[in-house]
Amino acid sequence: MSNIKSSLYNLRVLDDLARKETSIHLVHPLTKLLTTVVFLTVVLSFGRYEIVGLLPFFFYPIVIITVAEIPLGPILKRVLLAMPFIIGIGIFNPVFDQQTMSAFGLIFSKGWVTFLSILIKSCVCVGASLLLIATTGMDSLAAALRMLKVPKIFVLQLLLTYRYIYVLIEEISHMMLAYSLRAPRQRGIHPRVWGSFVGQLILRTFDRAQRIYDSMALRNFNGEYHTGKIDKNCWKDMVYLFGWCLFFIIARTNNLPMLIGSFITKVVN
């Protein structure tokens, strides 16, 4: 029960983080959205056997986390939540792809290399997306999507789904409290009542969603979600976007770890 309540509080952490006012938070939402899209595209453009080239892309989330004063814990926790899916996708690679390749004088299994590549790509991509929400907020993100002319029905769907998660969890916590108080020696919910529990939950959340919708409609909500005025892009936003894009392109076209390594070796020698 307390787990459900605490997960509700944890879910709201991203909203809380989005209310900070660091230099990253003040960057225009559209700029951050475009930067993230470019980042994801570049990361996903790497081949399945390229691992070293991906390493410089950890720089982007690290900079955002540091400058935007985002605590590492909540972000890592959420990245870990995506892990089972990522592992599910990549776990059979070592089984099916048993060829070997050599690098740095060592011999690696290609299957394991592709698995590691999927793991790294997913971590940085999920991390970057979470950081986008944590530094922008869902409402501003929705406004940025509307600026990109994404149809309002999709944006609204995204926003209401995000809101609905809270409604669902609140209802679950109320029902679980009522259940656990009358079933003190049980752990969790007995399978016999799963059906009625889920049925009740759906009906209750429908009712609650209807009431929320009514309260929105009474304040003249007509399908367009207004998130308030967002300042226009300024030169700083442009510098932010082009600065990061330049870095992504350089990191994509050059093997930065190799260049840095050889530079250090030269200096040492």
Partner: protein, 282 residues
């Protein structure tokens, strides 16, 4: 400008399952008037409010707001004139900050962000929660949530304020603050509540509903001191109008002169209570 702010004419409403929730209800509310709608559970109070707000549409009859009939076409205009505060503030507060929740209505009317800001600031100041504007609504206390929900309606600058059970689940201090707040508003007010003491303190006129029908209508103090009527409708005289529970002294409601208990039954000085009732008169 009409004399009647709200007029309900022979309103009837059936739910899809055939249950007749509202039967031939008619009444008028004058500009600036404060009206209480009371009735037992299932009497049809909330359904009536939903019909007034145009969330539900009647089978027959009409609701006129400032002589404009509530219909799908007139809804945007009507809803700007009438603001409704829900029974559960959690249903009304769904944005990430109190500010955004209060700004939700004005933004939907496409006001400039400067005006939205002015309205939000004014509404938050009016209910006394300016300091909470950046807080997440789910972290507020019950009283603060209620105040935020009222602010979210006030920001639309309505002429009529409709409140469904405004004092439910509030602690005594928050309840007292809310009553003072409601009395400070000059809006036309329609309040439904089971807390009849709140009705005594906030409404000059009261309408009693039973099984979807109006059974009585009149001055609040007359209605709420009619024990027989209240009992018939599944209600009870409010505590503030009952005889003194300690000394048993009767109250003279209609002249506002109150009989005081001069002898302390229990011999304890602090128990002696002031039995006066502040009556809301026209």
């Amino acid at each position: 400008m009409s004399y009647h702010m709200l007029e309900v004419r022979e309103l009837n409403f059936d739910y899809p399952d055939g249950y007749e929730a509202i039967k031939n209800i008619s009444f008028t509310i004058r500009r600036g008037e404060s009206v209480g709608i009371i009735g037992a559970n299932g009497a049809g109070k909330s359904t009536l409010l939903m019909l007034l707000m145009g969330v539900l549409f009647p089978k027959n009859g009409q609701v006129l707001v400032d002589e404009v009939a509530v219909s799908k076409k007139t809804l945007p205009m009507i809803r700007q004139q009438m603001g409704m505060v829900f029974q559960d503030p959690d249903d009304q507060l769904f944005m990430t900050t109190v500010y955004d929740d209060v700004a939700f209505g004005p933004r939907n009317y496409l006001l400039s962000e400067q005006e939205v800001n002015q309205r939000v600031t004014k509404a938050l100041e009016l209910v006394g929660i300016s300091h909470l504007k950046d807080r997440a609504p789910f972290r507020l206390s019950g009283g603060e949530k209620r105040a935020a929900a009222i602010a979210s309606v006030l920001s639309m600058e309505p002429d009529i304020l409709i409140m469904d059970e405004p004092t439910s689940a509030l602690d005594p201090k928050s309840r007292r603050r809310l009553i003072s707040l409601l009395n400070s508003f000059e809006h036309t007010k329609i309040i439904t509540s089971h807390d009849l003491d709140t009705i005594v303190e906030t409404c000059s006129r009261t309408i009693v509903i039973k099984a979807g029908e109006i059974v009585a209508e009149g001055k609040t103090v007359e209605i709420l001191t009619n024990e027989e009527l209240l009992d018939h409708c599944g209600l009870e005289m409010p505590l503030s109008l009952q005889n003194c529970s300690i000394c048993g002294s009767e109250k003279d409601f209609f002249t506002e002169k109150t009989k005081y208990s001069t002898t302390n039954t229990y011999g304890i000085q602090t128990i002696e209570r002031d039995c006066r009732v502040s009556l809301v008169e026209n």
